[in-house]
Amino acid sequence: MNLGCNNKLIKFFLTSLILFLLTGKSFSIEPNIFIQSTVNRASTALSESFTKEEKIRKLKNIAKETVDINGIGLYTIGKHRKKMTDKEKSEYLVLFEKYFLKTFSDRLSEYTNPKVSVNDSQKLNENYTIVSSVLVPTKERTEIKIDWRVYTKDPQNLLIRDLIIEGLSLARTQKEEFNSIIQTNNGEIDALFNSLRKFINN
C-alpha cells in the first residue's frame, strides 16, 4: 500500500515537474509589466547605497537582458547596412554593443533613485507596443514623459528597442548622428568605426 502510494506520489511529482518545465517557458508577460519591472530593477541599481562603478555594472547587466542591442545597432546604421560586408557587420555589432552599454550606463548613472510610473500601452502591430510612462518630478526637474518601444515578436522574450523622451526618439537621434559621421567622411564606414573605437576607449 505504502509502496503504491509512494509510486503515485513520485508519478505526481514527476508529472508536475514535466508540466512545469514545459509550460514554465511559455509564460508571456504584458509589455507594460515588463517595462515597470525593468525600471524597478534599474531604480534599485541606482540606489544611493551603490558606488558609481557598481551602478554602471548593474545597469549594463540589466541592459543586456532587456534591450535588443543588436536590433538597435542594425537600425542605427540605417541605409549603410546594405553595403557592409558580413565581416564589417559583425565588427560593427561588437563595437556598437560596447558603445551602447557605455553611453547607456553613463547617461543613467548620474540619477539616484529615479521613480518611473508606467501608465498605459498602445499596440502598434504584432511586433511593437509602445508603453507610456513618466519620470516622476522632483524639486530639481519637472515631469518627463518617456515612451518605450517594445519589440513583442517573441512574447516570451520582450525587448526594448527605443526610448522616446518627450517625443524625441533616442534611436533616431543615434541613427542621424551615425549617418552624419559617415557622410562627412565621404561615405566611409571606417570613419564611424574609428569614432566608435575612440569613444569606447575614452
Binding site: G71, L74, Y75, G78, R81, T103, D106, R107, E110, Q122, L124, N127, Y128, I130, S132, K139, R141, T142, D147, R149, K153, R161, D162, I164, G167, L168, S169, R172, T173, K175, E176, E177, N179, S180, I181, T184, S195, L196, K198, F199
Partner: protein, 260 residues
Amino acid sequence: MKKILILYLLSILLAFNANAGTDGENSLSKKNQPVKDCFEGLNRGIFAFNKGLDNIIFEPAAKGYRKLPMPIKLGASNALNNLSNLITVPNNFLQGNLGNAGNNSMRFAINSTVGVLGLWDPASRLGFERIDKEDYGQTLGAWGVGAGCYVVLPVLGPSTVRDAVGSLASFMGGDPWYNVTVKNNTQHFTDFDYYASRATSGVNFRAKNIDAFDNLENNSMDFYASVKSLYLQDRQKKVSNSKKITNTLDDSDWEEIETK
C-alpha cells in the same frame, strides 16, 4: 489687422513659391522628407561660435540662475510663459484652432491681472489649462509649408528656413510684445524690457536643460548632428500638433530590420 493680412499673404506666397516650377513636390512641400543641411559647413561654424558663446555667457548665467530661490525661478518662468501667449494666440487663430485661442486669451487676461503680470498662474486653477506654445514657423508648417534647409542662426541656434521666416514675421508686427516695446514708442515700455525678457527666456531654457545638454554633449560623437536631429524631431512634433508617439518615428525603418 493690416499686418496680419500682409503676413497671411506672405505665407501664401511662400507656400506657392515653394511649388513654382515643380509638380508640387519639393523640399519645401514634403512634410515628412528629411530636412537637408544645405549649408552644413557654415552651420557647423556658427554652431561652434554659439557653443563658445554658451561657454562664456549662457552656461555660467544658467548655473547662476539655477541657484536662485525656487519662487523667483517659478515666477520668472510663469511670466515668460504668459508673454508667449501674445504669439501663441494669433497662431492659434491662423491655424483655425479657435478653442485654444480662447483658452490662451483667457489665460493671458487672468494671469496678467489676477496673476500680477503673469508671475502666478491662477488661470490653471480656474480650468484654463496650459497648452503647447505656437509660433509662426509652426503655423507655416501646419499650412503645409515644408521646413526647407536646416540653418543654425548666430546666438539664436538651430532653425530651418521656414522657422526663420516665421521668426521674421514676429518682427514685422506679429509679436505684440515686440510692438509695444521696441517697434512703437508707447511710453509704458522700453527696448530694454523686450531684450531683457528674451535674454531671461534664453537663460531660463538653458537652466532647465543644463544637465540634459551636458549629458548629450558627453555622450555624442558628433554633437552638432545630435542637436540637429533633436531640434528637427521636436519641430516635427510641434508642427503636427500630435500627441501620437508613432508620428515621431519612421516605422518602415524598424520593419526593414525584421527581414535581416
